[in-house]
């Protein structure tokens, strides 16, 4: 099946490692030009260098998406350099934590506002594409209770509602909007690798919840994201696709 991704221009935030990195690797492999960002300049540089080996145009910027002006400037630059935008994948997250009320502000700014700002800024460009597609990265933490009542879970839930609403609102511009909710994903340098050492009990109980006995991987999530982002998924919009390796236990009617 040809996904129709060749020549498409994708902007992906938080793409130097983990799920974001797997997404840009896959999209570049399918022939997409890529703009990626992350906070660390060194990591952006090496990601750009490595992803570019797939042979498409890859550009990157070191940006903290909490900084609205810097973030918008980067989006603007990316659109200009790529010559437009067909795919937007807001992937950056502030992650979990219950340290203080500031976690709520941080998750709101990073997980929610960076998604909203990106979608709003890029809508005119995605409209021009004719095959515009936004894939928002949420989490199964939004769907079932997970661990503790942290801002991360609630803000990821907000993204699902926003995504559905947005899909109706900009549907007539031929922009599809979907959400992917990954379950716990293990990768080197990821949160679960750390949790395996710092909180063995939590790691073990999470692993036990996986019917096939292992964590999902970034590549598996990336394939779902790439499909939804592609013209091949033309009929799907407003969906929340759970990519969790069977981690959640609810029945999805």
């Amino acid at each position: 099946m040809d996904l129709g991704l060749r020549g498409k221009r994708a902007i992906v935030t938080g793409a130097t490692k983990g799920i974001g990195r797997a997404i840009v690797d896959l999209l570049a492999g399918e022939g997409c030009d890529i703009a990626l960002c992350a906070r660390s300049e060194d990591e952006v540089e090496s990601a750009v260098r490595e992803v570019a080996t797939k042979g498409t145009q890859v550009i990157g910027g070191a940006v903290n998406v909490r900084d609205a002006d810097a973030y918008k400037a980067w989006l603007e630059r990316s659109v200009a350099q790529l010559g437009g935008c067909d795919i937007f994948i807001p992937n950056v997250s502030a992650g979990g934590g219950m340290d203080s009320e500031k976690n709520w502000w941080k998750c709101f700014e990073v997980d929610v506002l960076h998604t909203v700002r990106g979608c709003e800024f890029l809508t005119p460009h995605l409209e021009k594409s004719g095959h515009g597609s936004i894939v928002i990265i949420s989490s199964t933490n939004a769907l079932e209770t997970f661990y503790v009542p942290m801002a991360y879970n609630a803000m990821k839930a907000a993204l699902i509602t926003y995504s559905k609403q947005l899909s109706q609102f900009i549907g007539r511009k031929n922009i599809r909007v979907n959400t992917v909710s990954p379950g716990p994903i293990y990768f080197e340098g990821g949160a679960w690798e750390m949790i395996k050492s710092t909180n063995q009990k939590m790691y073990d109980s999470t692993l036990r919840a996986m019917p096939n006995g292992h964590f999902g991987s970034p590549d598996e999530v990336a394939r779902v994201v790439a499909f939804l982002a592609s013209p091949a998924a033309s009929i799907i919009t407003g969906a929340n696709v759970v990519a969790d390796n069977g981690f959640t236990k609810r029945v999805q009617y």
Partner: protein, 460 residues
């Protein structure tokens, strides 16, 4: 394969492959404060002692004969930590503490000094007081009511006129050298022991800046561990085992960039906290163990957006800036001391994890008769902010290993040690194969040998 260990050695190629698989990771050195000899805690690196790389024979841990030699040549020649001065503020307050088969009374005197006596009645040898902390007007033996003052002198010997030989030819209880330093009471079983300060040198210069006497005791626990006391000392004297049994600490401290300093008898190492081990990848967020460091310092991890590698320095700067307003006096400490673990061994049996805001002190005492058992005493202290209400003294707890948790890290150490002791009895094991990360263990055994072979200690 053959059973001859000599013909069992690796081929050149196998050895190369093993080395390749087993390399310590490379790392960038942690930024430290400049080397200094003081004032304050010296930070200068002491030259490493030149010690042979020989196996440390396992019999040191398992043999009753060795245990006896330790008693005769070491335990009875050194200064020993007896208790806390704060526990005996008033004249007559006393600590009855045990070492080996001896029990010692450490008694506050009317003039404010502390004196030590053998806790034994001169009449028939009865113990005068059970071990623990209490207060006495006199020490009266429960058996025949021989009575001694808090200064040890005879007060009354019932029916003394029925002893044709008279009273024992002394003033009362047999005394021992006793002195105080650092808020602690020390005693020695050797009447000719050198002065306490000479013995402790250079520890007071190192630890006085922490103002330990201003800290309050928060835990007082004795756990009976099934291992030789030295196996416990060894466990706290190297960071090599962090990757083995404390995986969570790899996201808390640097276990390879350790400054080891060996002095005459005592030694220490300096472990950077608030940083991640080079054995693990950079995590995506601040690890929970490091968050706890930030919270103690009054920093909000949710409000920290800097790269992880800046965190240790930023915590130090934050504490330096806000310490006084939080009621903490860090003026005598260097910046590294505000985050790092300065870990000391006061020979032979006191290990201390010293931090700006707290102290974890462990005293390892041998079992009176069994080399395979020991008493592990935990005293933890906290520096309270100025003006804070002092909490009640925690009650002493005493239990067997495994009966209760003593916290994740110490549980991990504790679970490991009985297996170490068991294994040492195996005929398939000769002794300890010690690396440079474990230099303090080698130094400790060298000092122990100095005592056993009569090179130090009083001439007697």
């Amino acid at each position: 394969m053959t059973n001859d260990p000599k013909s069992d050695s690796l081929t050149e190629l196998e050895l190369q492959e093993l080395k390749e698989r087993s390399k310590a990771p490379n790392y960038r050195k942690v930024r430290r404060v400049p080397e200094s000899d003081g004032p304050g805690t010296p930070t200068a690196k002491a030259p490493d002692p030149d010690l042979p790389t020989l196996i440390i024979p396992k019999e040191r841990y398992t043999s009753a004969d060795h245990m006896q030699r330790e008693w005769q040549h070491m335990w009875t020649k050194v200064w020993l930590l007896g208790g806390l001065e704060a526990d005996i503020p008033e004249p007559g307050d006393y600590i009855a503490t045990e070492i080996g088969r001896e029990s010692i009374l450490l008694v506050r005197q009317i003039d404010g000094s502390v004196r030590a006596f053998f806790n034994v009645c001169l009449h028939r040898g009865n113990r005068l007081r059970p071990s623990g902390i209490s207060s006495a007007e006199t020490f009266k033996c429960q058996y025949h009511h021989w009575e001694y003052g808090i200064d040890g002198r005879f007060v009354r010997i019932p029916d003394l006129d029925t002893f044709p030989q008279g009273a024992p030819p002394c003033r009362g209880l047999r005394g021992l050298p006793c002195d105080t330093w650092g808020g602690f009471v020390w005693f020695s079983l050797d009447p000719n022991v050198e002065p306490l300060r000479t013995f402790l040198d250079p520890i007071p210069q190192h630890l006085d800046p922490y103002q330990v006497p201003k800290m309050v005791l928060t835990r007082d626990i004795t756990v009976e561990w099934s291992c030789n006391w030295k196996a416990s000392v060894d466990a706290f004297n190297e960071s090599y085992h962090v990757q083995g049994i404390h995986p969570q600490l790899l996201y808390y401290l640097h276990d390879l960039d350790i400054q080891i300093d060996c002095y005459d008898r005592h030694n220490r190492y300096l472990i950077p906290f608030g940083t991640v081990s080079p054995r693990v990848r950079k995590p995506p967020s601040i690890p929970d163990p490091i968050k706890s460091i930030m919270k103690t310092a009054g920093m909000d991890p949710a409000d920290y957006d800097e790269p992880l590698e800046n965190l240790r320095r930023d915590v130090q700067a934050h504490k330096r800036r806000t310490g006084a307003s939080m009621g903490k006096d860090y003026s005598q400490l260097n910046d590294d001391q505000l985050t790092d673990d300065y870990h000391y061994l006061i020979f032979p049996n006191v290990t201390l994890n010293v931090h700006a805001d707290d102290l974890m002190l462990f005293r390892q005492r041998p079992h009176p008769t069994d080399p395979n058992q020991m008493f592990y005493d935990i005293w933890t202290f906290e520096l309270l902010p100025d003006g804070a209400e002092r909490p009640a003294r925690p009650k002493h707890q005493h239990f067997q290993h495994g009966d209760k948790s003593i916290g994740l890290v110490l549980d991990q150490d504790a679970q490991n040690l009985p297996g170490v002791q068991e294994g040492m009895h195996s005929s398939g094991f000769e002794g300890l194969w010690i690396g440079s990360q474990e230099l303090r263990i080698r130094h400790f055994h060298k000092v122990l040998d100095d005592y056993l072979e009569g090179r130090v200690g009083s001439a007697k």
